[in-house]
C-alpha cells in the first residue's frame, strides 16, 4: 500500500470512529426527555399534567404515561418540568387511567403539600383508599407524595390515545406545594401501574419520559 492510501485508510477509519461515537452520544445519550417550563402564576408557577392509560403513539403505544402542558396550553410528552425556587407550585393533574392499587399503602396519604391535602374533583382530601390509586405523584427528596384517584373501571368514554381531552372520563386532582432551594429532584409514581410487566414495575415505570422524571427547581 502506498503512503497516501494508508493515510487515507487511517483517516477514514478515524473519521468513522468519531462519527460512530458522536452518533452514540447524540442518539442514545443525548436523547433525554425535553424540559417544559411550568406556566407562571401568582406566587410561583402552575403545573398542569395528565396521566393516560396508554400513550397511543410510537414508540410505545401501550405504555402508561404522564404528559405536561406548557404555558401555551400545548401538551408535551415529557416528564422533566422546570419550576422556580422558593415559591408555590399549583399542580393540576387530569387523571385518565383506571385504578391499580398501591403495593405499599403508606403512599395513600397526601404528604408534603400545602395543608397536607389535595382536592379530588373539588373535594378536599388528605388520604385515598389505597385500592383506588391509579398513580402517585411523588418527589421523595422534597417529602411530597400525592395519590391520584383512578377512573372507575366501568366508566364510559375512556381515553386511550394521548393527549386526552377533558371531554373524556377523568378525575381532576389539584394540590399546591412549596419549592425549596434550586436543584434537580427526581419524581416518580409508586403505584405498580405498568400493565403486563412483572410486579407492574417494568417498562414505563423504569423510563424517564413516562412514569419517572425530574423536577428542575431553578
Amino acid at each position: 500500500m502506498s503512503v497516501g492510501a494508508k493515510a487515507l485508510a487511517i483517516g477514514c477509519a478515524t473519521a468513522l470512529a468519531i462519527v460512530l461515537v458522536a452518533l452514540y452520544i447524540v442518539d442514545f445519550l443525548a436523547a433525554t426527555p425535553s424540559t417544559v417550563k411550568a406556566a407562571s402564576a401568582p406566587g410561583g408557577a402552575r403545573l398542569t399534567l395528565q396521566t393516560v392509560a396508554s400513550y397511543g403513539h410510537s414508540p410505545h403505544p401501550d405504555w402508561v404515561s404522564y404528559l405536561v402542558q406548557d404555558g401555551g396550553g400545548k401538551w408535551h410528552h415529557t416528564t422533566v418540568f422546570k419550576v422556580p425556587a422558593h415559591s408555590l407550585v399549583h399542580v393540576t393533574i387530569y387523571q385518565y387511567d383506571t385504578a391499580t392499587g398501591l403495593r405499599n399503602p403508606f403512599w395513600s396519604q397526601v404528604r408534603g403539600t400545602v395543608g397536607g391535602s389535595m382536592t379530588v374533583d373539588g373535594k378536599t382530601m388528605n388520604a385515598l383508599n389505597p385500592d383506588l390509586a391509579s398513580h402517585t405523584f411523588a418527589i421523595p427528596d422534597m417529602g411530597i407524595s400525592v395519590p391520584l384517584k383512578g377512573v372507575a373501571d366501568d366508566a364510559k368514554n375512556q381515553c386511550s390515545v394521548a393527549p386526552c381531552p377533558l371531554s373524556q372520563a377523568h378525575t381532576t386532582v389539584t394540590f399546591t406545594f412549596r419549592t425549596g432551594k434550586p436543584g434537580k429532584y427526581r419524581w416518580q409514581c409508586f403505584v405498580p401501574c405498568a400493565a403486563s410487566f412483572i410486579f407492574g414495575n417494568g417498562g414505563p415505570m423504569q423510563s424517564p419520559g413516562w412514569m419517572d422524571g425530574y423536577l428542575v427547581v431553578a
Binding site: 405499599n104 399503602p105 421523595p140 400493565a195 410487566f197 412483572i198 410486579f199 407492574g200 414495575n201 419517572d212
Partner: protein
C-alpha cells in the same frame, strides 16, 4: 543451589537479606504506627454505634496487618530494581537458581498461619465479640446481642425506604429514628426487587430481598444523624434511594414516635397487618 559460586556479582545473600530486613522493618514500624495512631481514629465507619466501632477496630487491625505484607513486596521489588539491573547494552544471564525448598516451605507455612489466624479471628469477631457486626444475618441470626431490643422493620421498594414500628401500632414512616443506647433489631425486607439497606455511619448493611426477613442489630452510642443509602442496584432511581436517619434520646424518641403515629394515622389504618415479609404480587395485570 549455591548461587555464590556463580558469577552473578554483588555481595553475598546474607548482606542483601540484612539490608532488606532493615528497610522493611523500618517502613513497617512507621506504617503500622501511622495506621494505628494517625489514621485509626478517623477510620470509617467511625464510632457512632457499637457495630461501627467493632468494624473500625477490625479495619484498623486488617490495615495494620496489610502494611507489612505491602511493604514486604514493595521493598523487595524496589530493592531488586535498584540492585539487580542489566547494564546498558549488555545481555548477561543471572544465576540459574530454580528454587529454594526451605524458603518455599517457610513461605507456605507463614502465609497459611496468617490466613488461618485471620479466619479464626474473623469468626470469633463475627459470632463472638462483635455479635454479627451490623450485617444482615437472615431470618434466624446466629449472633444476637444480649438485652431488650426495639424492633424496626425496614421496607425497601422501588425507590424509597420506609420504616415500620410494630411495637407502636405498626406505624409506617418515611424517616428512620432510633433510640440512643438501645439495641435495635432491624428486619429488612423488600416489596419488589433486591435492595440493600446501608446505614453508613451506623455500620449496618443488610440486603432487602423480597420474601425474606433479614435481621441485623445495631446499638447507637450517641445521638446524631446518619445517612441511609441503597447498596444493591435496584433499577432506575437506585442512586436516589437515600435518606437521613436520626438517633434520638430515649425521651425524644418516645415523643417522636407519638407524633409520627398521629401524623401518619390515615395511612396506618390502611396498612396490612405487620408481618416479617410481604410477598409482592407478581401477577401481570392485563391492560
Amino acid at each position: 543451589m549455591a548461587s555464590e559460586a556463580l558469577p552473578s556479582g554483588g555481595p553475598p545473600e546474607r548482606v542483601h537479606g540484612r539490608r532488606l530486613f532493615v528497610i522493611w522493618a523500618a517502613l513497617t514500624v512507621v506504617g503500622v504506627l501511622l495506621i494505628v495512631f494517625v489514621a485509626g481514629p478517623h477510620m470509617p465507619p467511625g464510632n457512632f454505634s457499637q457495630e461501627a466501632r467493632d468494624q473500625r477496630h477490625i479495619n484498623i487491625l486488617l490495615a495494620a496487618l496489610a502494611v507489612p505484607v505491602l511493604f514486604g513486596v514493595w521493598t523487595c521489588l524496589a530493592y531488586i530494581f535498584t540492585t539487580f539491573r542489566q547494564g546498558e547494552g549488555e545481555l548477561q544471564d543471572g544465576p540459574p537458581v530454580r528454587g529454594h525448598p526451605r524458603l518455599q516451605v517457610v513461605w507456605v507455612v507463614a502465609t497459611a498461619a496468617i490466613v488461618l489466624s485471620l479466619g479464626a479471628f474473623g469468626t470469633e469477631e463475627l459470632l463472638g465479640s462483635a455479635k454479627g457486626a451490623g450485617g444482615g444475618q437472615g431470618p434466624d441470626p446466629l449472633a444476637v446481642p444480649a438485652g431488650q431490643k426495639v424492633q424496626v422493620q425496614v421496607i425497601g421498594q422501588q425507590w424509597a425506604w420506609t420504616f415500620r414500628y410494630p411495637a407502636y401500632g405498626g406505624v409506617e414512616t418515611s424517616q428512620l429514628a432510633l433510640p440512643e443506647g438501645q439495641t435495635t433489631e432491624l428486619h429488612v425486607t423488600s416489596l419488589d426487587v433486591s435492595h440493600s439497606f446501608w446505614a453508613i455511619q451506623l455500620g449496618v448493611k443488610a440486603d432487602a430481598i423480597p420474601g425474606n426477613d433479614n435481621v441485623a442489630f445495631v446499638t447507637p452510642r450517641h445521638t446524631g444523624s446518619f445517612e441511609i443509602r441503597c447498596a444493591e442496584l435496584c433499577g432506575l432511581w437506585h442512586g436516589h434511594m437515600h435518606n437521613t436517619g436520626v438517633v434520638m434520646t430515649q425521651a425524644g424518641f418516645a415523643a417522636w414516635i407519638k407524633q409520627q403515629q398521629a401524623a401518619n394515622a390515615p395511612a396506618t389504618k390502611t396498612l396490612p397487618p405487620y408481618s416479617t415479609h410481604y410477598f409482592p404480587d407478581p401477577i401481570r395485570r392485563a391492560g
